[in-house]
C-alpha cells in the first residue's frame, strides 16, 4: 500500500467518527428536559423567537430531518446565537480559540524543552541519582491536578518573585506571551512525565538492541551511536505520544484557563455550561472534538513518515 492510499484510508475512517460525534451532541441536547427551542433560546425568549427557532430546528418534522438540519448548521458554521453574549457564537468562539491555541503552542515548546534533555539524561544515567531524582519529581508533578500546580506556580512566580502576571491575557502580543507562560508551564508539568517515561524507556530499549551492539562493535564513537542510532529510533514512540498529548491538551486547557482567568475557548465552555448557553456549549464541544481528531490524523500521517512499516501493514 502506498502512503497516499494509507492517508486516504485514514481520511475515510474519519467519516463515521465525525458522524458519531454529531449524533452524540444531537442526542444529548435533545435529552435536555423540555423543548429544544426553549433550551436553545433560554428563558428570556419571546414567543415569535421560539416559533422561528422551532421552524429552524424543524421540530415538527421527523427526527432524522431535524438531525440533517443540525448537521447542515454545524458544517456551514451557522452555530446560532449565544444566549449569554447575545451575539452569534461564530463571533465569539474564534478569538477564544486563538487564546487556547497560543497556550497549547507554548506548552508544546515547554514540553520539548523539558522532555528531550531529561529523558536522555535519565536513560543514559540509568539508576543514578539524576535518574531517580527525575523520576521522583515526575511522580509528583504527574499526579498534581493542574488547578493545584497552577496556583502553586502563581504563588511562586507571580506573588513571591513578582516575575509574571497573576492572571488574564494582557493587551499586546508580547503581553499575551507573558500571560500564557505560567498556564503553559502548568500544562507541561502534568504531561511531561508521560513523555519522559516513554522516551527513557525507548532509549533503554534501543541501547539493548542488536543494531546498537553492531554499531558499537564496528568501532563507532559512543556519541555517534547515541545520536545516529539510539535517538533516531527512540524518538518515534515519543513523537507519537507527543502528538496525542497535544490533542489531549485541547481539553486540558479548560481547567488551566479557569485558574489563570484566561479568556480561552475552554473558559468559554465553562461559562456557557454555567449559563446553560446551549448553542455555545454545542459549538465549543463540536470544535474541540474536530480539532482532536484532526490532530490525531496529523499524528498518524507524520508517524507513517517516521515509521514506514505502518503503511505496509
Amino acid at each position: 500500500m502506498t502512503r497516499s492510499r494509507y492517508i486516504i484510508r485514514r481520511l475515510i475512517q474519519m467519516i463515521p467518527v465525525v458522524i458519531g460525534i454529531t449524533v452524540i451532541i444531537f442526542v444529548m441536547l435533545r435529552a435536555i428536559p423540555g423543548d429544544p427551542a426553549d433550551s436553545m433560546l433560554g428563558e428570556k425568549s419571546t414567543n415569535e423567537q421560539r416559533a422561528l427557532m422551532r421552524k429552524k430546528l424543524g421540530l415538527d418534522e421527523p427526527i432524522y430531518v431535524q438531525y440533517s438540519y443540525f448537521v447542515r448548521d454545524l458544517f456551514t458554521f451557522d452555530l446560532g446565537d449565544s444566549l449569554k453574549y447575545r451575539q452569534p457564537v461564530n463571533d465569539i468562539i474564534w478569538d477564544r480559540l486563538k487564546v487556547s491555541l497560543t497556550v497549547v503552542g507554548v506548552t508544546a515548546f515547554f514540553l520539548i524543552v523539558i522532555t528531550v534533555p531529561l529523558g536522555i539524561l535519565a536513560a543514559l544515567k540509568k539508576n543514578s541519582i539524576i535518574d531517580n531524582a527525575v523520576r521522583a519529581v515526575l511522580t509528583v508533578t504527574m499526579v498534581m491536578p493542574t488547578f493545584y500546580s497552577g496556583i502553586l506556580l502563581i504563588i511562586i512566580f507571580s506573588i513571591k518573585l513578582d516575575l509574571l502576571p497573576v492572571s488574564g491575557y494582557g493587551d499586546s502580543p508580547l503581553d499575551h506571551l507573558k500571560h500564557v507562560i505560567l498556564p503553559s508551564l502548568t500544562l507541561a508539568l502534568v504531561t511531561a512525565p508521560y513523555l519522559i517515561r516513554i522516551l527513557r524507556a525507548s532509549i533503554l530499549d534501543a541501547l539493548n538492541s542488536d543494531y546498537v551492539t553492531t554499531a558499537r562493535s564496528k568501532g563507532l564513537e559512543e556519541r555517534r551511536v547515541i545520536s545516529l542510532h539510539v535517538l533516531r529510533n527512540a524518538l518515534i514512540p515519543t513523537v507519537t505520544l507527543f502528538g496525542i498529548t497535544i490533542g489531549g491538551l485541547m481539553g486540558g486547557t479548560v481547567i488551566t484557563e479557569k485558574v489563570f482567568a484566561l479568556p480561552g475557548a475552554g473558559a468559554l465552555l465553562i461559562e456557557s455550561v454555567q449559563f446553560r448557553d446551549y448553542p455555545t456549549v454545542q459549538a465549543a464541544t463540536f470544535i474541540f472534538a474536530i480539532m482532536v481528531i484532526t490532530i490525531n490524523l496529523i499524528v498518524d500521517i507524520v508517524y507513517s513518515f517516521l515509521d514506514p512499516r505502518v503503511v505496509l501493514s
Binding site: P16, T139, V143, I151
Partner: protein, 294 residues
C-alpha cells in the same frame, strides 16, 4: 514403584505450589506496592474514622476564628468561614476516595462487557464496538465530561453517569486485545473441541485470564477519577460548597492565596498524596504482573 512415582509427583507438586507462593510473596513485597499500599490504607482509615479524629465540625461556621494561620489549635489553619481546614481535609477523604471508587465501577463493567464480546466474537460485533471507541475517543475527556454534566446537570451522581459514558473505552480496548491473544491459545481450542459452549469458554477460561490487567488498570484509574471529580468541583460543576470536597476547597481558597495560602494548598496536597499512593500501587502491580508473565 507406582507409589514412588506418585510420591515424587506429589512432592514435585507441593514444591511447585510452595515456590509459587514464595514467588507471589516476593512479588507483593515490591517496594512501590508497599509504600503506596501503606499510604492508601492510612487514607482509608482516616476517611473511615473522620468524625472521631478531630474535635471540629467540617461545616460549622465560626466567624471569630476566621483565617487563622496554622498553629496548635488548628494545625492546617482555618478558612474564611472559620472552619478548621484539617477537619475539612479529613472529611474530604470520605467524599473523594468514595467518589473515585464508585466512579470506576460502571465504566469497568460496561467496558469489560463490550470488550469481551468484541474480542471473543470479532467480526461485526468488533467493528461496531471499535467504531464506538473511536467516536468517544475523539472528544477530549474533560470536554465530553463537561458537556455531559451540562446536559445532565451538576452533581456527583451525574458525574458518575458522565464518566461511565466515556471511560469504558479504556477497559473495552484492553480486554479486547488480551482476549484476542487468549482465545487463540491451545486451552481454548481444547475447550472448544470437547464441545464447550461460547459462554462457558469465556466465563471459565478466557475471561479470568483477561480481566486481571483491567483490574490493575482500574486501581490506577481511581486516581484519575478523583482528579476529575476534584477538577469538576473546582470548576463548580461537581460537588458544591460547603461540602468539604478537596477540589472545591482549592477553588474556594484561591482568592485568599496571597494572605491565607493554607486554605487552598493543604486540600490540594491531599489530592497529590492520594494520587502518589495510587500511582505507586499501579506501578507495583504492573511490576508484579510482568514478573508473572515470565
Amino acid at each position: 514403584m507406582a507409589a514412588d512415582v506418585a510420591d515424587a509427583g506429589a512432592l514435585a507438586s507441593t514444591a511447585v505450589v510452595r515456590t509459587r507462593r514464595n514467588q507471589l510473596l516476593k512479588q507483593l513485597a515490591n517496594k512501590n506496592l508497599i509504600i503506596g499500599g501503606t499510604i492508601l490504607l492510612i487514607l482509608i482509615l482516616i476517611a473511615l474514622l473522620a468524625p472521631w479524629l478531630t474535635p471540629y465540625d467540617p461545616l460549622e461556621v465560626d466567624p471569630q476564628s476566621a483565617l487563622q494561620s496554622p498553629g496548635l489549635d488548628h494545625p492546617f489553619g482555618t478558612d474564611n468561614f472559620g472552619r478548621d481546614v484539617l477537619t475539612r481535609v479529613i472529611h474530604g477523604a470520605r467524599i473523594d476516595l468514595r467518589a473515585g471508587l464508585i466512579a470506576v465501577i460502571s465504566p469497568f463493567i460496561i467496558g469489560v462487557l463490550i470488550g469481551t464480546i468484541a474480542g471473543f466474537y470479532g467480526g461485526w460485533a468488533d467493528t461496531i464496538a471499535m467504531r464506538a471507541v473511536d467516536i468517544v475517543q475523539a472528544f477530549p475527556g474533560l470536554v465530553l465530561l463537561i458537556f455531559l454534566v451540562s446536559v445532565l446537570g451538576p452533581g456527583l451522581n451525574n458525574m458518575y453517569i458522565a464518566v461511565a459514558m466515556f471511560a469504558w473505552i479504556v477497559y473495552a480496548r484492553l480486554i479486547r486485545s488480551t482476549i484476542f491473544v487468549e482465545k487463540n491459545k491451545e486451552y481454548v481450542t481444547a475447550a472448544k473441541s470437547i464441545g464447550g459452549s461460547d459462554w462457558r469458554i469465556i466465563g471459565k477460561h478466557v475471561f479470568p485470564n483477561a480481566v486481571i490487567p483491567c483490574l490493575v488498570f482500574a486501581a490506577t484509574d481511581v486516581a484519575l477519577y478523583i482528579g476529575l471529580l476534584a477538577g469538576l468541583s473546582y470548576l463548580g460543576l461537581g460537588e458544591r460548597p460547603p461540602a468539604p470536597e478537596w477540589g472545591a476547597m482549592v477553588a474556594a481558597g484561591q482568592p485568599f492565596m496571597v494572605t491565607a495560602w493554607w486554605i487552598s494548598a493543604l486540600p490540594g496536597a491531599a489530592i497529590v498524596v492520594t494520587g502518589i499512593a495510587l500511582s505507586l500501587i499501579g506501578d507495583g502491580l504492573g511490576d508484579v504482573l510482568r514478573m508473572d508473565d515470565r
